[in-house]
Amino acid sequence: MDKQMISVRQLTIIVMFFSIGTAILIVPASISQEIKQDAWIATFLGVILSLLVVKLFIIVGNITTNLTLVEAFENILGKYVGKLISIAFVLFTFFAAGELLYYLGDFMQSAVMPETPIVAFGIMFMLVICYGVYLGIETFARSAEILFPIFVLIFVLFVIFISPQIDIKNIQPILESRTKPLIHSILLFTSIFSFPLVVMLMIFPASVNIHKSASKGIYIGIIAGGIVLVSMITLAILVLGAPNASQMSYPSYAMAQRISIGNILERIEIIMAFLWITTIYIRTFMYFYASVLGLSQILKIKDYRPLVLPMGMILIAISLIVHPNIIHSNTFNNEIWLPYSSVFAILLPLLLVVVAKFRKIKSE
């Protein structure tokens, strides 16, 4: 199989979509639960903190110029330790993909089509993802490029249409929350927003055609994603109010339902749902692609394509197992995800950097 390459612009767009991901759907509720109307401050600070996290990933990327993350584990940490960590990493991405499939199914079932079984959405969505992985990262990057202008257009329309409903009283009093919950929600937001970007290391140095400007592209991508999320959360608080937003499972969707321009332009929420269906698609694709590519590199298989369909089949089953209900998924996101993802997003990259320095593995 030929090595597929993507351009820096495509990488930027993928990073943006990936970081928005599920956050656009879940984060408003879980953060406004904790610090009420100050959620937008936490998000804003979280985006700034994310730049540091991304810096770490870029340092790792510069050490392992031509390797994916899984290959880098093996190269730097040795054969056995590296393989063990790679397996853990592949399981991490695989379960995360299953979770996202569950979120999408749950969102579609509870908000849009209540009579359809959740597995139907999982199968339809997974077919598209399998097809994408089958065609490879290059095709996928091009499709992300096509989706980008539509995404921007719908997002801008969303902001314009919802702005008449803004009530500035909802955001007052500003800075009421105490420091500790604020720090916790910043960490919580960062863990959902930028920690998973570690998956980008599967494509970032290895399949980007120009290395030098790639890191700039990643920064731009994450800032663009941050702008979208900050405005989304600020709008959710301004329009719905913090008590309302914290009790809904999908505040962004509830907000879209409130759009009403002169009693004519109403009930356009499913068009607005394009926003998160696109971003969830991109995020699920990246997780799934990382786990398929990772598994094939652990087993030293050159062409990963035979693994796509069976793994997709397992993923559909996993998506039905991982979260029995929305309460389970909320507790997992708010309590476990932060330490769990920081092992893979902070500890392992740090370990890689330290060991590489110790063993004097230099970038080429």
């Binding site: 089949m313 397992i314 197992i321 979260h323 476990i336 330490p339």
Partner: protein, 77 residues
């Protein structure tokens, strides 16, 4: 019964789609990995159809990370 048959049909279709190419090019390792993954997928799906109580991997992860999460929750409350 019907869902189980459906799943078996799907896995046969997947193997008919992938196997000839793997057999023709003598890719033994790929073939084994493919068969093992497909068997896992098929058995998981059939177990789900028959409403077998499957263990949830995220519960194990929750078990491992619960102390850390409790620590974070108590220090940042």
């Amino acid at each position: 019964m019907l869902p189980t048959i459906g799943i078996l049909v799907i896995s046969t279709a997947i193997s008919l789609f992938e196997m000839p190419n793997l057999l023709k090019n003598n890719k033994t390792k790929e073939l084994w990995v493919f068969i093992i993954l497909l068997l896992i997928g098929t058995s998981l799906s059939i177990a789900l159809c028959l409403k077998v109580n499957l263990p949830n991997p995220l519960d194990w992860i929750t078990f491992i990370f619960k102390p850390f999460s409790d620590f974070i929750m108590t220090t940042l409350k």
